[in-house]
């Protein structure tokens, strides 16, 4: 499969207000078309920073990012982001339907085409009944599904998600995880999923990129050799799952203690 996202030697140092923070030192990895890759790392490791650089919202300090062979200099076409602060990323003055519709309007789609995509997206996330509600009338988990529906309706070729389920309860979280897997299967979209939940990363991903602590490098690229069909009970209790999650867990522990590959 072809490489769709190529991150090469990415570095990011925040400057300003009289201090500078080296968030990301040297990140290199590739993601192939149609892959679902998870990124885990300690809090403050620079996961959000990485996603913001990839989505063209943040200027890099070094290295190169290219999407489909084109260097990323601003928000690229065909990419959608689900932000960590999903509640704040929805437009509070618009209804659920209008929230999903607005990016499609900006994309220049016609009315009937928009309506079809919105209905399909709402159906996919199970929010048909809430189409005319305002985001602030919904629960956290429902708001998150609106943000996902908006991204899905946009039909991106790459979907970036930043700890999207951090603030929802365990049951909703399990449902949303399955939702992401299902949408990924249906749409053939490439997904880059950031989380700090190790089990979640193994359950969802085909690969797990483990980040070191700040300044960030990649500690290990862990392949997840689990069957493509996953389910919450069976997969999570399998021996293979336990083995991979134990490995990732140990890596994250090492990362927290400041272990770095090759002493970089």
């Amino acid at each position: 499969m072809t490489v769709i996202l190529d991150v090469n030697g990415l570095a990011k140092t925040y400057t300003g207000h009289g201090r500078s923070v080296e968030a990301v030192r040297d990140l290199t990895f590739q993601i192939r078309k149609g892959e679902l890759v998870c990124i885990v790392g300690p809090s403050g490791a620079g996961k959000t920073t990485l996603l913001r650089c990839i989505s063209g919202l943040l200027d890099t300090s070094g290295g190169r990012i290219s999407l489909d062979g084109t260097a990323v200099t601003g928000p690229p076409a065909g990419m959608a982001v689900v932000f960590q602060e999903y509640g704040r990323s929805l437009f509070p003055w618009l209804t659920v339907r209008q929230n999903i519709e607005l990016p499609l309007k900006e994309k220049g789609l016609g009315r009937s085409e928009r309506a079809a995509k919105i209905d399909a997206a709402l159906e996919a996330v199970g929010l048909r009944d809430s189409a005319d509600a305002h985001p602030w009338q919904l629960s956290g988990g429902m708001q998150q599904r609106v943000a996902i529906a908006r991204a899905v309706a946009y039909e991106p070729s790459v979907l970036l998600m930043d700890e999207p389920f951090a603030a929802v309860d365990a049951q909703t979280r399990a449902d949303l995880e399955d939702l992401v897997r299902r949408l990924w299967h249906q749409l053939g979209v490439t997904v880059l999923f950031v989380t700090h939940d190790i089990d979640e990363s193994v359950y969802l991903g085909q690969r797990v990129l483990v980040l070191s602590n700040r300044p960030t490098v990649i500690l290990e690229d862990v392949p997840v050799d689990l069957p493509d069909e996953r389910d919450q009970l069976g997969t999570r209790s399998s021996a293979a799952f336990t083995e991979i999650r134990t490995h990732v867990y140990e890596l994250v522990q090492k990362a927290k203690q400041g272990h770095r590959p090759g002493g970089r």
């Binding site: 913001r52 989505s55 063209g56 919202l57 928000p75 076409a77 990419m79 959608a80 982001v81 932000f83 602060e85 509640g87 704040r88 990323s89 437009f91 509070p92 003055w93 618009l94 607005l102 990016p103 900006e106 994309k107 305002h134 602030w136 009338q137 946009y154």
Partner: protein, 264 residues
Amino acid sequence: MSVLAIPVDRWRRPALGLLGVVLAAAVVEALPRLGLVDERFLPPFSRMVTGLTEQLALAEFWTALGQTLGGWALGLAIAMIAGVLAGVVIGSVPLLRAITSSTIEFLRPIPSVALIPLVVLIYGSRLPSALILIVYAAFWQVLVQVLYGVADVDPVVRDTARSYRFSRWGVIRSVVWPTTLPYVVTGFRLAAAVALILEITAELIIGVPGLGRSIGVAQSSGAVTETYALVLFVGIIGVAVNGFARAVEKRTLRWHTSVRRDLA
């Protein structure tokens, strides 16, 4: 107790307000009648009311009222349009904001009445004189509110719009404007009050046609009751303008306050 206290509390304020008005009217009625104040300087309240009803029968009165309200509305409209346009443009361009901030802080406190000699020189006692005073005073009220509003756009919402590649105009129309609207309405309320003051001032001092000039004419011809009647009426206009602006504000702010409440 709380069950009973709610209706009592609800009616208490307006009832007390009304009582205050009645008391003030009674005092104004009593002072000249008891001979404590010379009737030539302060006629009893009842005579002011009679004077006002006589005014209401005169065609000149209605013409003057139309001129006052016309000048007020036109000046307010110009100030609103100019303030909103300038606010959105300046607020959206950080460089422009930095360049203009000290200038705005210098010009804003200059009282509009200080411009009277200048406008008299240029336009004499015609409508443009009043308009310039109104626009100068009301413009800053609107501009400052709009600048607050534009600065209030949530950075996550802004990033969302950028990542979905909204056009510049799309960002202004769909993100900046809805966020700023409540501030615009507040600016409208403040500007409406200021505009009325300046309209009456221009009429009274410069002689621009309207109720203010009628007051001046009545005063200089020694028609004391008529003078008081007109002043009373101008006061009523002020109350009405404020009530109207508050009603508009309440309507527009509805979703905003509900959002604030639900997020809190």
